[in-house]
């Protein structure tokens, strides 16, 4: 594990039906995972406007995680297909405009997969630690 003493702040937008439930399950199953995510519950991953992602990154979040139901399993039947397009757009724009698109992660985590949620969080936290602080965090001139 890269231990540079950094405690990343990760904003996680989780869909109500799958990934948030998985996070809940991880908690009730007393699974240990990195404490770096701040969870914002949304009804569907497609609610996440690319602006939310960009706003978090510009205001100093080290990473943004978007979690939704697996393709085909969306509670609203096709919301996550739209979400994937939106996240793809956000990543592409971030990359075009000089932000690091590796700070954005889209993962499908079904409701029953508490352990998977813990694993994704750990993995993402680790990769963010390797990237280091988001330079926007202390940037006065942004």
């Amino acid at each position: 594990m890269a231990d540079n003493g950094m405690e990343p702040k990760i904003v996680a937008f989780l869909c109500n039906w799958c990934t948030f439930t998985a996070a809940d399950l991880a908690g009730t199953s007393r699974l240990k995972y990195e404490p770096n995510v701040r969870i914002i519950k949304v009804m569907c991953s497609s609610r996440v406007d690319p602006v939310f992602i960009l706003k978090a990154l510009l205001d100093g979040a080290d990473g943004v995680l978007i979690g939704g139901c697996a393709p085909g399993d969306c509670h609203y039947s096709k919301g996550n297909f739209y979400a994937r397009r939106k996240v793809a757009l956000a990543k592409k724009l971030a990359e075009s405009m000089g932000l690091d698109s590796k700070r954005i992660r889209l993962s499908w985590i079904p409701a029953s997969e508490g352990p998977l949620f813990a694993r994704v969080v750990n993995e993402f936290t680790e990769s963010i630690k390797q990237l280091g602080d988001n330079p926007t965090k202390r940037e006065v001139y942004i």
Partner: protein
């Protein structure tokens, strides 16, 4: 390539014919203003008023798609109205139709291959030297010095989807008009204007040469912008002068929202928030969300960005907005294989999906 016909009409004859033969109730095009210096996009409803019409005048005082949207959004005209649009304006109009901000009913769309425009502040009717250079460049099929950087790097300068398209490049602005009629409506018009295969003329080879020059310029522009935008520092320096006036979004044909999200209550914070953020960083720049505005606006409209250049024309602090948006827009559009304004039946990328796609964006 569409078949070209020699109409043997001057621009004035052609506009008169629109009223006389095609029986339009109005024509909207760039027109000289009484001051004799400037031009404006103007709706004319009388054949006697067309004298000052100069549809090809190389300035874009407003993106005409925005004007046509204002004209038709509430209710389209009940009689035919002919509208002159540059290729980028036509693409913007097509995008606006997709988002229901303009209606095409009873519009007769006339476009032309476009040699670009000057920044509107820098050209007036009395700038004879500049206009002469422009005329020469059109006739020779070359890029004219002084046109806007995005025009210089525009590769989609031949109209797509017009009812009548005029070909200027390689022929000249003052020659009898060479017309093509891509649509069904256009073909009807050709019959009414009495043009048939005996009037066919060759497409000018200058179009190809210009296309190559433009492609090269586009590559250079992309490279230049990508270099300036490297990393967070690049991003900040590019928008460092921005005064958050949001003029770019107001002039943008695609940004149609009456109350922009970035001017909404969502981005007004309680004083506590400002002071807390000042506490974290030591100092806080006001207004906040200045860079977010540009990135966010990109996320809202870059897929439909037609690189018309209006944003850069109106920026009071000379930020190369259009060049940045063209570069980022092109990359975003490539993601969905989408070309804004090309096909009116193609849905906006964010309003559709495929079940298996973009898997490289999942982790």
């Amino acid at each position: 390539m569409q078949t070209l016909f020699d109409s043997r009409m001057t621009m004035a004859d052609f506009i008169a014919a629109l009223f006389d033969k095609l029986e339009v109730a109005g024509v909207a095009a760039i027109t000289k203003l009484p001051s004799g210096e400037k031009t404006a996009y103007t709706l004319l409803a009388d054949k006697d008023d067309i004298e000052d019409c100069v549809p090809y005048f190389p300035a874009m005082p407003a993106n005409a798609a925005r004007a046509v949207s204002k004209l038709t959004r509430e209710a389209p005209p009940s009689k035919q109205v002919a509208v002159f649009l540059r290729p980028c304006e036509l693409r913007a109009l097509t995008e606006l139709v997709k988002i229901k901000q303009a209606l095409l009913d009873n519009l007769f769309i006339i476009s032309f291959d476009c040699a670009g425009v000057f920044p509107f502040q820098e050209i007036s009717l009395s700038d004879e030297a500049k206009l002469k250079a422009y005329r020469d460049a059109v006739a020779d099929g070359k890029n004219c010095e002084g046109i806007r950087p995005v025009c210089n790097a525009c590769t989609r300068f031949v109209p797509e989807g017009a009812d009548i398209a005029i070909s200027f490049i390689g022929r000249g602005l003052d020659e009898p008009l060479a017309l093509s009629f891509p649509s069904e409506k256009g073909k009807e018009a050709a019959k009414i204007l009495g043009l048939d295969s005996s009037d066919n003329v060759e497409t000018s080879p200058a179009l190809e040469t210009l296309a190559e020059a433009r492609k090269k310029a586009e590559g250079e522009l992309t490279k230049k912008i990508e270099e300036t935008l490297a990393g967070t520092d690049g991003l900040i320096s590019v928008f460092d002068k921005c005064i958050s006036c949001h003029a770019c979004s107001y002039a943008c044909p695609i940004c149609y929202c009456k109350n922009c999200y970035f001017d909404s209550q969502t981005f007004e914070y309680f004083p506590e928030s400002y002071f807390a953020r000042m506490g974290e960083k030591g100092a806080l720049r006001l207004p906040v969300d200045r860079v977010l505005f540009h990135l966010g606006r990109l996320s809202h409209m870059s897929l439909s960005c037609v690189a018309c250049g209006m944003c850069e024309d109106v920026c009071p602090v000379n930020i190369p907005v259009a060049q940045i948006f063209k570069t980022a827009g092109t990359r975003a559009q490539a993601l969905f294989d989408y070309i804004p304004g090309k096909n009116p039946d193609e849905p906006l990328p964010l309003l559709t999906y495929a079940e298996t796609e973009l898997e490289e964006f999942e982790d």
